[in-house]
Subunit: 262 residues, 2 copies
Amino acid sequence: MNKLSVIKIGGNVIDNSEKLHQFLLDFTALPGDKILVHGGGKIATELGDSLGVTAKMFEGRRITDIETLRIVTMVYAGLINKNIVAQLQAKGSNAIGLTGADGNIIKAVKRPVKEIDYGFVGDLDETSVSAVALESLLKAGMVPVLCAITHDGDSQLLNTNADTIASAVAVAMAKRYETALIYCFEKRGVMRDINDDSSLVREIRLGEFDTLKAEGVVSGGMIPKLHNAFEAIKSGVEAVYIGKADELSQIDQQNFGTRLIR
Amino acid sequence: MNKLSVIKIGGNVIDNSEKLHQFLLDFTALPGDKILVHGGGKIATELGDSLGVTAKMFEGRRITDIETLRIVTMVYAGLINKNIVAQLQAKGSNAIGLTGADGNIIKAVKRPVKEIDYGFVGDLDETSVSAVALESLLKAGMVPVLCAITHDGDSQLLNTNADTIASAVAVAMAKRYETALIYCFEKRGVMRDINDDSSLVREIRLGEFDTLKAEGVVSGGMIPKLHNAFEAIKSGVEAVYIGKADELSQIDQQNFGTRLIR
Protein backbone atom coordinates (compact mmCIF):
# COMPACT_ATOMS: atom_id res chain seq x y z
CA MET A 1 0.00 0.00 0.00
CA ASN A 2 1.10 3.58 -0.69
CA LYS A 3 1.71 5.90 2.23
CA LEU A 4 -0.71 8.70 3.03
CA SER A 5 -0.43 11.49 5.59
CA VAL A 6 -3.59 13.23 6.81
CA ILE A 7 -2.48 16.45 8.50
CA LYS A 8 -4.67 18.77 10.52
CA ILE A 9 -3.83 22.39 11.34
CA GLY A 10 -5.84 24.74 13.53
CA GLY A 11 -6.26 28.43 14.23
CA ASN A 12 -2.81 28.91 15.79
CA VAL A 13 -1.22 28.25 12.38
CA ILE A 14 -3.92 29.80 10.20
CA ASP A 15 -4.02 33.09 12.13
CA ASN A 16 -0.26 33.64 11.80
CA SER A 17 0.82 34.26 8.19
CA GLU A 18 4.53 33.59 8.93
CA LYS A 19 3.74 30.28 10.63
CA LEU A 20 1.33 29.31 7.87
CA HIS A 21 3.89 30.06 5.16
CA GLN A 22 6.53 27.91 6.89
CA PHE A 23 4.05 25.12 7.58
CA LEU A 24 2.94 25.03 3.93
CA LEU A 25 6.61 24.78 2.84
CA ASP A 26 7.16 21.85 5.24
CA PHE A 27 3.87 20.26 4.16
CA THR A 28 4.91 20.50 0.49
CA ALA A 29 8.31 18.92 1.25
CA LEU A 30 6.70 15.92 2.97
CA PRO A 31 7.00 12.80 0.77
CA GLY A 32 4.07 10.58 -0.22
CA ASP A 33 0.39 11.29 -0.75
CA LYS A 34 -1.11 13.95 1.51
CA ILE A 35 -4.43 15.41 2.63
CA LEU A 36 -4.60 18.67 4.58
CA VAL A 37 -7.50 19.45 6.93
CA HIS A 38 -7.80 22.94 8.35
CA GLY A 39 -9.92 24.55 11.01
CA GLY A 40 -11.08 28.11 11.25
CA GLY A 41 -9.22 30.53 13.41
CA LYS A 42 -10.13 34.02 14.48
CA ILE A 43 -11.22 35.37 11.11
CA ALA A 44 -14.75 33.94 11.28
CA THR A 45 -15.30 35.47 14.71
CA GLU A 46 -13.91 38.82 13.51
CA LEU A 47 -16.14 38.82 10.44
CA GLY A 48 -19.12 37.91 12.61
CA ASP A 49 -18.33 40.83 14.92
CA SER A 50 -18.10 43.22 11.93
CA LEU A 51 -21.51 42.03 10.75
CA GLY A 52 -23.08 42.10 14.21
CA VAL A 53 -23.36 38.29 14.38
CA THR A 54 -21.85 37.27 17.71
CA ALA A 55 -20.44 33.79 18.14
CA LYS A 56 -22.63 31.73 20.42
CA MET A 57 -20.71 29.07 22.32
CA PHE A 58 -21.74 26.19 24.58
CA GLU A 59 -19.01 24.30 26.46
CA GLY A 60 -16.39 25.51 24.01
CA ARG A 61 -18.44 24.53 21.00
CA ARG A 62 -19.76 27.05 18.54
CA ILE A 63 -23.52 27.06 18.05
CA THR A 64 -24.10 27.43 14.33
CA ASP A 65 -27.26 29.37 13.54
CA ILE A 66 -28.02 30.18 9.90
CA GLU A 67 -26.13 33.49 10.00
CA THR A 68 -23.08 31.82 11.55
CA LEU A 69 -23.23 29.08 8.91
CA ARG A 70 -23.11 31.75 6.18
CA ILE A 71 -20.07 33.29 7.83
CA VAL A 72 -18.12 30.06 8.35
CA THR A 73 -18.93 28.97 4.79
CA MET A 74 -17.51 32.25 3.48
CA VAL A 75 -14.45 32.22 5.73
CA TYR A 76 -13.54 28.52 5.90
CA ALA A 77 -14.50 27.38 2.38
CA GLY A 78 -13.76 30.72 0.68
CA LEU A 79 -11.16 32.97 2.25
CA ILE A 80 -8.99 30.52 4.22
CA ASN A 81 -9.29 27.46 2.00
CA LYS A 82 -8.58 29.28 -1.27
CA ASN A 83 -5.67 31.28 0.12
CA ILE A 84 -4.10 28.07 1.43
CA VAL A 85 -4.64 26.44 -1.98
CA ALA A 86 -3.10 29.40 -3.86
CA GLN A 87 -0.09 29.35 -1.53
CA LEU A 88 0.37 25.58 -1.87
CA GLN A 89 0.19 25.88 -5.66
CA ALA A 90 2.96 28.50 -5.56
CA LYS A 91 5.07 26.15 -3.41
CA GLY A 92 4.63 23.21 -5.78
CA SER A 93 1.75 21.24 -4.20
CA ASN A 94 -1.10 20.63 -6.64
CA ALA A 95 -3.68 21.50 -3.99
CA ILE A 96 -7.45 21.27 -4.53
CA GLY A 97 -9.61 22.93 -1.89
CA LEU A 98 -12.82 21.19 -0.87
CA THR A 99 -15.73 21.05 1.51
CA GLY A 100 -17.43 17.74 2.24
CA ALA A 101 -20.11 18.68 -0.30
CA ASP A 102 -17.60 18.72 -3.16
CA GLY A 103 -17.56 15.33 -4.85
CA ASN A 104 -19.78 14.23 -1.96
CA ILE A 105 -16.54 13.59 -0.07
CA ILE A 106 -18.04 13.93 3.42
CA LYS A 107 -21.73 13.45 4.03
CA ALA A 108 -22.66 14.31 7.60
CA VAL A 109 -25.82 14.11 9.70
CA LYS A 110 -27.17 17.29 11.30
CA ARG A 111 -26.67 16.90 15.04
CA PRO A 112 -29.97 15.92 16.69
CA VAL A 113 -31.43 18.51 19.09
CA LYS A 114 -31.26 17.31 22.71
CA GLU A 115 -30.73 19.73 25.63
CA ILE A 116 -28.83 22.03 23.29
CA ASP A 117 -29.63 22.87 19.66
CA TYR A 118 -26.18 23.21 18.09
CA GLY A 119 -27.81 24.37 14.87
CA PHE A 120 -26.24 23.56 11.52
CA VAL A 121 -23.54 21.25 12.87
CA GLY A 122 -22.69 17.96 11.20
CA ASP A 123 -21.71 14.72 12.91
CA LEU A 124 -19.84 11.96 11.11
CA ASP A 125 -20.06 8.19 11.22
CA GLU A 126 -18.11 5.40 9.54
CA THR A 127 -20.05 5.82 6.27
CA SER A 128 -19.51 9.60 5.96
CA VAL A 129 -16.22 9.78 4.03
CA SER A 130 -15.96 8.76 0.38
CA ALA A 131 -12.51 7.16 0.16
CA VAL A 132 -13.19 6.49 -3.54
CA ALA A 133 -13.56 10.20 -4.31
CA LEU A 134 -10.46 11.16 -2.31
CA GLU A 135 -8.44 8.38 -3.92
CA SER A 136 -9.45 9.51 -7.43
CA LEU A 137 -8.12 13.01 -6.65
CA LEU A 138 -4.88 11.64 -5.18
CA LYS A 139 -4.43 9.39 -8.23
CA ALA A 140 -4.90 12.48 -10.45
CA GLY A 141 -1.87 13.95 -8.65
CA MET A 142 -3.86 16.36 -6.51
CA VAL A 143 -3.53 17.24 -2.83
CA PRO A 144 -6.99 17.59 -1.21
CA VAL A 145 -7.29 20.51 1.21
CA LEU A 146 -10.42 20.05 3.31
CA CYS A 147 -12.10 22.76 5.34
CA ALA A 148 -14.47 22.16 8.23
CA ILE A 149 -17.70 22.33 6.20
CA THR A 150 -19.67 19.24 5.16
CA HIS A 151 -23.18 18.66 3.81
CA ASP A 152 -26.15 16.42 4.53
CA GLY A 153 -26.76 15.29 0.95
CA ASP A 154 -30.04 17.22 0.94
CA SER A 155 -28.70 20.72 0.01
CA GLN A 156 -27.73 21.69 3.56
CA LEU A 157 -24.16 22.70 4.37
CA LEU A 158 -23.04 21.85 7.91
CA ASN A 159 -20.29 23.15 10.18
CA THR A 160 -18.16 20.18 11.28
CA ASN A 161 -15.27 19.86 13.73
CA ALA A 162 -11.96 19.74 11.83
CA ASP A 163 -10.35 17.22 14.25
CA THR A 164 -13.30 14.90 13.63
CA ILE A 165 -12.97 15.33 9.86
CA ALA A 166 -9.24 14.54 9.96
CA SER A 167 -9.86 11.40 12.00
CA ALA A 168 -12.78 10.17 9.85
CA VAL A 169 -10.78 10.78 6.66
CA ALA A 170 -7.76 8.88 8.03
CA VAL A 171 -9.90 5.93 9.11
CA ALA A 172 -11.66 5.75 5.73
CA MET A 173 -8.39 5.96 3.80
CA ALA A 174 -6.64 3.36 6.00
CA LYS A 175 -8.24 0.56 3.96
CA ARG A 176 -6.45 1.83 0.83
CA TYR A 177 -3.27 3.49 2.14
CA GLU A 178 -0.78 3.01 4.97
CA THR A 179 -2.18 6.07 6.73
CA ALA A 180 -0.66 8.38 9.33
CA LEU A 181 -2.83 11.00 11.04
CA ILE A 182 -0.95 14.10 12.18
CA TYR A 183 -2.45 16.70 14.50
CA CYS A 184 -0.59 20.00 14.69
CA PHE A 185 -1.46 22.01 17.80
CA GLU A 186 0.09 24.50 20.25
CA LYS A 187 2.18 22.04 22.28
CA ARG A 188 5.10 19.79 21.35
CA GLY A 189 3.05 16.71 22.25
CA VAL A 190 2.37 14.80 25.47
CA MET A 191 4.73 16.19 28.17
CA ARG A 192 5.65 14.40 31.42
CA ASP A 193 6.22 17.87 32.91
CA ILE A 194 4.31 20.71 31.28
CA ASN A 195 7.07 23.18 32.27
CA ASP A 196 9.91 21.07 30.89
CA ASP A 197 10.19 21.04 27.11
CA SER A 198 12.61 18.09 27.24
CA SER A 199 10.01 15.88 28.94
CA LEU A 200 8.23 15.11 25.68
CA VAL A 201 6.87 11.56 25.52
CA ARG A 202 8.08 10.29 22.13
CA GLU A 203 5.82 7.27 21.81
CA ILE A 204 2.73 5.85 23.45
CA ARG A 205 1.43 2.39 22.68
CA LEU A 206 -2.27 1.65 22.93
CA GLY A 207 -1.62 -0.63 25.97
CA GLU A 208 0.20 2.17 27.84
CA PHE A 209 -2.62 4.71 27.61
CA ASP A 210 -4.41 3.63 30.82
CA THR A 211 -1.16 3.66 32.84
CA LEU A 212 -0.29 7.18 31.62
CA LYS A 213 -3.78 8.36 32.56
CA ALA A 214 -3.40 6.80 36.04
CA GLU A 215 0.02 8.46 36.46
CA GLY A 216 -1.48 11.82 35.48
CA VAL A 217 0.93 12.25 32.52
CA VAL A 218 -2.12 12.43 30.31
CA SER A 219 -4.78 14.65 31.83
CA GLY A 220 -7.40 17.28 31.07
CA GLY A 221 -8.10 18.04 27.42
CA MET A 222 -5.39 15.59 26.37
CA ILE A 223 -7.50 12.59 27.48
CA PRO A 224 -10.27 12.89 24.86
CA LYS A 225 -7.66 13.87 22.21
CA LEU A 226 -5.66 10.69 22.84
CA HIS A 227 -8.79 8.61 23.26
CA ASN A 228 -9.96 9.66 19.78
CA ALA A 229 -6.48 9.08 18.37
CA PHE A 230 -6.40 5.51 19.69
CA GLU A 231 -9.89 4.91 18.32
CA ALA A 232 -8.51 5.83 14.88
CA ILE A 233 -5.62 3.40 15.42
CA LYS A 234 -8.05 0.65 16.42
CA SER A 235 -9.87 1.36 13.14
CA GLY A 236 -6.76 0.78 11.04
CA VAL A 237 -4.77 4.02 11.06
CA GLU A 238 -1.07 3.14 11.27
CA ALA A 239 0.08 5.93 13.60
CA VAL A 240 -1.25 9.18 15.03
CA TYR A 241 1.16 12.04 15.71
CA ILE A 242 0.44 15.00 17.99
CA GLY A 243 2.91 17.85 17.81
CA LYS A 244 3.81 21.41 16.89
CA ALA A 245 3.32 22.62 13.32
CA ASP A 246 6.79 24.18 13.19
CA GLU A 247 8.44 20.81 13.87
CA LEU A 248 6.64 18.99 11.05
CA SER A 249 9.77 18.87 8.87
CA GLN A 250 11.36 16.53 11.43
CA ILE A 251 8.65 13.87 11.21
CA ASP A 252 10.76 11.67 8.90
CA GLN A 253 13.54 11.59 11.49
CA GLN A 254 10.97 10.37 14.05
CA ASN A 255 11.55 13.71 15.70
CA PHE A 256 8.05 15.19 15.67
CA GLY A 257 5.79 15.27 18.71
CA THR A 258 4.26 12.22 20.36
CA ARG A 259 3.67 9.17 18.21
CA LEU A 260 0.74 6.92 19.10
CA ILE A 261 0.81 3.38 17.76
CA ARG A 262 -0.97 0.08 18.26
CA MET B 1 -15.19 12.49 -28.96
CA ASN B 2 -17.53 12.72 -25.98
CA LYS B 3 -19.89 15.67 -25.71
CA LEU B 4 -19.29 18.41 -23.15
CA SER B 5 -21.47 21.38 -22.23
CA VAL B 6 -19.89 24.41 -20.56
CA ILE B 7 -22.73 26.45 -19.07
CA LYS B 8 -22.46 29.91 -17.59
CA ILE B 9 -25.02 31.51 -15.28
CA GLY B 10 -24.96 35.01 -13.91
CA GLY B 11 -26.43 37.09 -11.13
CA ASN B 12 -30.01 37.00 -12.43
CA VAL B 13 -30.15 33.26 -11.71
CA ILE B 14 -27.96 33.23 -8.60
CA ASP B 15 -29.87 36.03 -6.83
CA ASN B 16 -33.22 34.27 -7.25
CA SER B 17 -33.45 31.06 -5.21
CA GLU B 18 -36.50 29.75 -7.14
CA LYS B 19 -34.81 30.33 -10.49
CA LEU B 20 -31.59 28.80 -9.24
CA HIS B 21 -33.37 25.69 -7.96
CA GLN B 22 -35.11 25.17 -11.32
CA PHE B 23 -31.94 25.86 -13.27
CA LEU B 24 -29.97 23.32 -11.21
CA LEU B 25 -32.68 20.70 -11.86
CA ASP B 26 -32.49 21.37 -15.62
CA PHE B 27 -28.69 21.38 -15.49
CA THR B 28 -28.68 18.00 -13.73
CA ALA B 29 -31.08 16.55 -16.34
CA LEU B 30 -28.83 17.61 -19.23
CA PRO B 31 -27.10 14.56 -20.76
CA GLY B 32 -23.33 14.26 -21.26
CA ASP B 33 -20.37 15.74 -19.43
CA LYS B 34 -20.90 19.20 -17.98
CA ILE B 35 -19.03 22.12 -16.45
CA LEU B 36 -20.87 24.97 -14.70
CA VAL B 37 -19.38 28.47 -14.46
CA HIS B 38 -21.07 31.02 -12.23
CA GLY B 39 -20.71 34.72 -11.68
CA GLY B 40 -21.37 36.69 -8.56
CA GLY B 41 -24.65 38.50 -8.17
CA LYS B 42 -25.72 41.04 -5.61
CA ILE B 43 -24.47 39.23 -2.50
CA ALA B 44 -20.87 40.44 -2.82
CA THR B 45 -22.03 44.05 -3.13
CA GLU B 46 -24.38 43.64 -0.17
CA LEU B 47 -21.65 42.10 2.00
CA GLY B 48 -19.28 44.90 0.96
CA ASP B 49 -21.90 47.48 1.97
CA SER B 50 -22.36 45.79 5.37
CA LEU B 51 -18.60 45.91 5.91
CA GLY B 52 -18.22 49.48 4.66
CA VAL B 53 -16.34 48.38 1.53
CA THR B 54 -18.07 50.08 -1.39
CA ALA B 55 -17.83 48.56 -4.84
CA LYS B 56 -15.64 50.68 -7.10
CA MET B 57 -16.62 50.42 -10.75
CA PHE B 58 -15.06 51.72 -13.96
CA GLU B 59 -17.05 51.37 -17.20
CA GLY B 60 -19.17 48.62 -15.68
CA ARG B 61 -16.17 46.70 -14.42
CA ARG B 62 -15.49 46.19 -10.76
CA ILE B 63 -12.16 47.47 -9.47
CA THR B 64 -10.81 44.81 -7.14
CA ASP B 65 -8.78 46.27 -4.30
CA ILE B 66 -7.51 43.91 -1.60
CA GLU B 67 -10.63 44.32 0.55
CA THR B 68 -12.90 43.64 -2.42
CA LEU B 69 -10.84 40.56 -3.30
CA ARG B 70 -11.39 39.22 0.22
CA ILE B 71 -15.12 39.77 -0.16
CA VAL B 72 -15.48 38.17 -3.61
CA THR B 73 -13.33 35.22 -2.49
CA MET B 74 -15.67 34.68 0.48
CA VAL B 75 -18.87 35.14 -1.51
CA TYR B 76 -18.03 33.55 -4.87
CA ALA B 77 -15.74 30.69 -3.77
CA GLY B 78 -17.40 30.15 -0.39
CA LEU B 79 -21.05 31.07 -0.04
CA ILE B 80 -22.34 30.85 -3.62
CA ASN B 81 -20.11 28.07 -4.93
CA LYS B 82 -20.64 25.73 -1.98
CA ASN B 83 -24.38 26.27 -1.83
CA ILE B 84 -24.66 25.49 -5.55
CA VAL B 85 -22.54 22.35 -5.03
CA ALA B 86 -24.67 21.17 -2.06
CA GLN B 87 -27.85 21.73 -4.11
CA LEU B 88 -26.46 19.91 -7.14
CA GLN B 89 -25.42 16.98 -4.93
CA ALA B 90 -28.97 16.76 -3.59
CA LYS B 91 -30.29 16.74 -7.18
CA GLY B 92 -27.95 13.95 -8.28
CA SER B 93 -25.05 15.84 -9.88
CA ASN B 94 -21.69 14.89 -8.40
CA ALA B 95 -20.60 18.53 -8.31
CA ILE B 96 -17.15 19.68 -7.22
CA GLY B 97 -16.74 23.42 -6.59
CA LEU B 98 -13.52 25.08 -7.67
CA THR B 99 -11.61 28.28 -8.19
CA GLY B 100 -8.90 28.47 -10.81
CA ALA B 101 -6.33 27.92 -8.04
CA ASP B 102 -7.73 24.46 -7.24
CA GLY B 103 -5.79 21.85 -9.18
CA ASN B 104 -4.17 24.84 -10.96
CA ILE B 105 -7.16 24.70 -13.28
CA ILE B 106 -6.99 28.34 -14.36
CA LYS B 107 -3.78 30.33 -14.07
CA ALA B 108 -4.34 33.98 -14.90
CA VAL B 109 -2.14 37.05 -15.27
CA LYS B 110 -2.83 40.10 -13.11
CA ARG B 111 -4.11 42.81 -15.44
CA PRO B 112 -1.31 45.30 -16.19
CA VAL B 113 -1.89 48.83 -14.89
CA LYS B 114 -2.48 51.28 -17.73
CA GLU B 115 -4.79 54.31 -17.36
CA ILE B 116 -6.79 52.34 -14.81
CA ASP B 117 -5.51 50.03 -12.08
CA TYR B 118 -8.17 47.33 -11.94
CA GLY B 119 -6.43 45.83 -8.91
CA PHE B 120 -6.52 42.09 -8.32
CA VAL B 121 -8.13 41.16 -11.62
CA GLY B 122 -6.92 38.25 -13.72
CA ASP B 123 -6.77 38.05 -17.50
CA LEU B 124 -6.66 34.75 -19.36
CA ASP B 125 -4.81 33.60 -22.46
CA GLU B 126 -4.76 30.35 -24.44
CA THR B 127 -2.41 28.69 -21.91
CA SER B 128 -4.48 29.55 -18.80
CA VAL B 129 -6.84 26.57 -18.57
CA SER B 130 -5.61 23.08 -17.65
CA ALA B 131 -7.78 20.79 -19.78
CA VAL B 132 -5.90 17.82 -18.28
CA ALA B 133 -7.03 18.67 -14.74
CA LEU B 134 -10.65 19.26 -15.81
CA GLU B 135 -10.68 16.04 -17.83
CA SER B 136 -9.39 14.02 -14.85
CA LEU B 137 -12.29 15.32 -12.74
CA LEU B 138 -14.84 14.59 -15.50
CA LYS B 139 -13.38 11.08 -15.91
CA ALA B 140 -13.77 10.57 -12.14
CA GLY B 141 -17.50 11.21 -12.65
CA MET B 142 -17.46 14.71 -11.21
CA VAL B 143 -19.14 17.90 -12.43
CA PRO B 144 -16.78 20.89 -12.03
CA VAL B 145 -18.49 24.06 -10.77
CA LEU B 146 -16.18 27.02 -11.36
CA CYS B 147 -16.52 30.40 -9.71
CA ALA B 148 -15.02 33.63 -11.00
CA ILE B 149 -11.78 33.47 -8.98
CA THR B 150 -8.44 32.40 -10.44
CA HIS B 151 -4.82 32.65 -9.28
CA ASP B 152 -1.48 33.79 -10.69
CA GLY B 153 0.51 30.70 -9.63
CA ASP B 154 2.44 32.85 -7.16
CA SER B 155 -0.02 32.74 -4.19
CA GLN B 156 -2.24 35.57 -5.44
CA LEU B 157 -5.96 34.98 -5.99
CA LEU B 158 -7.48 37.09 -8.78
CA ASN B 159 -11.03 38.18 -9.61
CA THR B 160 -11.82 37.08 -13.17
CA ASN B 161 -14.79 37.67 -15.44
CA ALA B 162 -17.04 34.60 -15.50
CA ASP B 163 -17.93 34.96 -19.21
CA THR B 164 -14.22 34.94 -20.00
CA ILE B 165 -13.67 31.86 -17.84
CA ALA B 166 -16.51 29.99 -19.55
CA SER B 167 -15.14 30.83 -23.00
CA ALA B 168 -11.51 29.93 -22.11
CA VAL B 169 -12.64 26.64 -20.55
CA ALA B 170 -14.73 25.73 -23.62
CA VAL B 171 -11.87 26.52 -26.02
CA ALA B 172 -9.38 24.48 -23.97
CA MET B 173 -11.74 21.50 -23.71
CA ALA B 174 -12.66 21.59 -27.43
CA LYS B 175 -9.48 19.63 -28.27
CA ARG B 176 -10.74 16.71 -26.14
CA TYR B 177 -14.55 16.96 -26.29
CA GLU B 178 -17.21 18.00 -28.78
CA THR B 179 -17.86 21.16 -26.78
CA ALA B 180 -20.90 23.44 -26.61
CA LEU B 181 -20.69 26.75 -24.73
CA ILE B 182 -23.98 27.95 -23.28
CA TYR B 183 -24.49 31.45 -21.91
CA CYS B 184 -27.61 31.95 -19.80
CA PHE B 185 -28.62 35.59 -19.48
CA GLU B 186 -31.69 37.81 -19.10
CA LYS B 187 -32.92 37.65 -22.71
CA ARG B 188 -34.16 34.78 -24.86
CA GLY B 189 -31.28 35.35 -27.30
CA VAL B 190 -30.72 37.61 -30.30
CA MET B 191 -34.08 39.26 -31.17
CA ARG B 192 -34.95 40.88 -34.51
CA ASP B 193 -37.40 43.08 -32.58
CA ILE B 194 -36.59 43.62 -28.93
CA ASN B 195 -40.33 44.08 -28.15
CA ASP B 196 -41.43 40.92 -29.95
CA ASP B 197 -40.61 37.68 -28.15
CA SER B 198 -41.38 35.66 -31.27
CA SER B 199 -38.66 37.42 -33.25
CA LEU B 200 -35.90 35.28 -31.76
CA VAL B 201 -33.12 34.47 -34.21
CA ARG B 202 -32.66 30.71 -33.86
CA GLU B 203 -29.29 30.37 -35.56
CA ILE B 204 -26.46 32.61 -36.72
CA ARG B 205 -23.60 31.31 -38.82
CA LEU B 206 -20.19 32.92 -38.57
CA GLY B 207 -20.54 34.28 -42.12
CA GLU B 208 -23.85 36.01 -41.28
CA PHE B 209 -22.54 37.99 -38.32
CA ASP B 210 -21.38 41.03 -40.32
CA THR B 211 -24.70 41.24 -42.19
CA LEU B 212 -26.70 41.11 -38.94
CA LYS B 213 -24.52 43.87 -37.50
CA ALA B 214 -25.07 45.99 -40.64
CA GLU B 215 -28.83 45.38 -40.42
CA GLY B 216 -28.80 46.46 -36.76
CA VAL B 217 -30.25 43.12 -35.58
CA VAL B 218 -27.13 42.73 -33.49
CA SER B 219 -26.26 45.96 -31.71
CA GLY B 220 -25.00 47.47 -28.46
CA GLY B 221 -23.78 45.06 -25.80
CA MET B 222 -24.71 42.10 -28.01
CA ILE B 223 -21.88 42.89 -30.46
CA PRO B 224 -18.94 42.11 -28.13
CA LYS B 225 -20.88 39.10 -26.70
CA LEU B 226 -21.32 37.59 -30.16
CA HIS B 227 -17.83 38.59 -31.24
CA ASN B 228 -16.38 36.63 -28.30
CA ALA B 229 -18.70 33.72 -29.01
CA PHE B 230 -17.53 33.48 -32.63
CA GLU B 231 -13.91 33.72 -31.48
CA ALA B 232 -14.57 30.60 -29.36
CA ILE B 233 -16.08 28.89 -32.42
CA LYS B 234 -13.06 29.81 -34.54
CA SER B 235 -10.93 28.19 -31.80
CA GLY B 236 -12.74 24.85 -32.05
CA VAL B 237 -15.91 25.16 -29.95
CA GLU B 238 -18.73 23.35 -31.78
CA ALA B 239 -21.57 25.75 -30.98
CA VAL B 240 -22.30 28.67 -28.68
CA TYR B 241 -25.82 29.17 -27.32
CA ILE B 242 -27.13 32.41 -25.84
CA GLY B 243 -30.48 32.18 -24.08
CA LYS B 244 -32.59 32.28 -20.96
CA ALA B 245 -31.74 30.00 -18.03
CA ASP B 246 -35.37 28.89 -17.62
CA GLU B 247 -35.45 27.53 -21.19
CA LEU B 248 -32.33 25.36 -20.76
CA SER B 249 -34.36 22.14 -20.61
CA GLN B 250 -35.35 22.68 -24.26
CA ILE B 251 -31.80 22.77 -25.62
CA ASP B 252 -31.98 19.15 -26.80
CA GLN B 253 -35.03 20.00 -28.92
CA GLN B 254 -32.97 22.81 -30.51
CA ASN B 255 -35.41 25.11 -28.78
CA PHE B 256 -33.07 27.16 -26.59
CA GLY B 257 -32.01 30.71 -27.44
CA THR B 258 -29.79 31.65 -30.34
CA ARG B 259 -27.33 29.07 -31.61
CA LEU B 260 -24.08 30.31 -33.11
CA ILE B 261 -22.17 27.93 -35.37
CA ARG B 262 -19.32 27.96 -37.83
